[in-house]
Symmetry: C2
Subunit: 320 residues, 2 copies
Amino acid sequence: MNNTITLAECAERLRSADDVLILTHGHPDGDTIGSGAALCALLRRLGKTAYLCPNSEITPKLRPFTLDFLPPEGFEPGFVCAVDAADEHLLTPDMRERFSGRVALCIDHHGTNSLYAGETCVDADAAACAELIIALSKELGVPLTQDIALPAYLGLATDTGCFRYSSVRPATLRAAADAVESGIDFYSVNRVFFETRSRAALAAESAVLANTEFFRNGTVAVSRFSLEDAASTRADRDDTNNLSSVLRTIEGVELGVLLREEKDGWKVSARSAPGVDSAAVCARLGGGGHAAAAGATIRAGYEDARAALLRAIAEELGEL
Amino acid sequence: MNNTITLAECAERLRSADDVLILTHGHPDGDTIGSGAALCALLRRLGKTAYLCPNSEITPKLRPFTLDFLPPEGFEPGFVCAVDAADEHLLTPDMRERFSGRVALCIDHHGTNSLYAGETCVDADAAACAELIIALSKELGVPLTQDIALPAYLGLATDTGCFRYSSVRPATLRAAADAVESGIDFYSVNRVFFETRSRAALAAESAVLANTEFFRNGTVAVSRFSLEDAASTRADRDDTNNLSSVLRTIEGVELGVLLREEKDGWKVSARSAPGVDSAAVCARLGGGGHAAAAGATIRAGYEDARAALLRAIAEELGEL
């Protein structure tokens, strides 16, 4: 049964709903939190009671965007709506436990949405779920006030690398223009999410760069980040989230592979340019993924892991 | 005499001009080259003969955007127009020599424009000169075809750090949306200018980070980049252009100062958050600039230069 609905139908459902609780996905990013907060503010402008379900996995940078929207104790929702969550198993454990099978509406931009909700409004061409929230505000005739626009901007900017990714479409930029027009301090978002890195994150990046070996005329870069590096740089998961993509940003590199030490071996993270198949390299190591980004795990010491990786790359691309 | 004209008047001037030669500023950036190329393409769509004056200081990344627009030998312009060049002395030496006093029209977004041209169309609120070129295409009724849209996008994106800076306004994002809508491969621009760094640039950044000292609870960061560092990283001017802003991107840092060795001493580059006055620090060292970004030169060895800098910071902010 296909339960997808149009944006206009989605607006109708929201207009007739009340006591709304909005769910965001686990390991939340700026788009799920921003879309949730923006939708909550939008519903309140329509005179509804609406809250954002507390996300137990929220990070310090995102928490400020939720503070105006947390429910009072004992709030019992009349309508549960999820944003940017492509499947029920992507909700946090406590949300799953409380609301599994009870999500009435899901608003999402993932083409892979499993249609787990009662009804789903999905636009896989949208660069961010927040694009849909801004479109909904138009559909509902609600002016884009700053309480809606700031979290919506957060979603748009964070899901597109500040409008850098190929996923950006004219509607993404126009939605951002509408948000900026409300007079929000959009630069405060850009500064925190795009112009600031922790000392540990910078140290981790330096360590990876210092360990980099180049092959095939500088087109292949291989590096490592050991548990020792993690300890000496004091980098946590937040600090090292983007570490595997650093090698691919080096001019001329078409395949960048990071070997990252975990307790039980070395995790392989491959990132590549069009024309180089990361998934094929990782498949030779028992892993998989997409052509542009793939992974595997090698349960061995560093020298053996490195040798196995170089062999896999050579088998795929030719001699190193 | 105020010779500024409106956008509509500017469009009129272009409509009646022909054999147009477009000048860009020296040490060209993406906005002057992008605006120049976009204006050239726009004039050709109007049926005009138009060329981009060769810029002797063009960089490899920008050159491809000029190739369709270079004039044949012996081309004698009937109308000379400058873009994004706030003063005649900012043109390249050969342009100054040939066209000083002969620039009929200047299109610019610098509030500091010296009004050196016969007539000047300036909008200091535009985040990029390319914003004005896109507005001109509307004014002139010329559809934003890809030949116009791609260089215009280059200008918009490069002058705003890919729409990250506080200078972005709704019109900037809407101009970008219009450009993207033409179907250009905008991501190819973003990839080259925002997602790729040379090995030398990365090595230089790592060297600066490795040399960083923190003061006042991590709010002040001071580092150096010596001639030896420049030699060992093989970093040239292009690679080290943004080096002085790296320290300010570290979480918690409100004042970042780089001491960079030149042949005759150490160049001070200070960058600061609102509330911390870089210019005041640099004034104590005989330099100057803006509150957010300032500079000075200290003619001394490293230890003396560092001591003088720390003294100036302490005098301004209190004990380190």
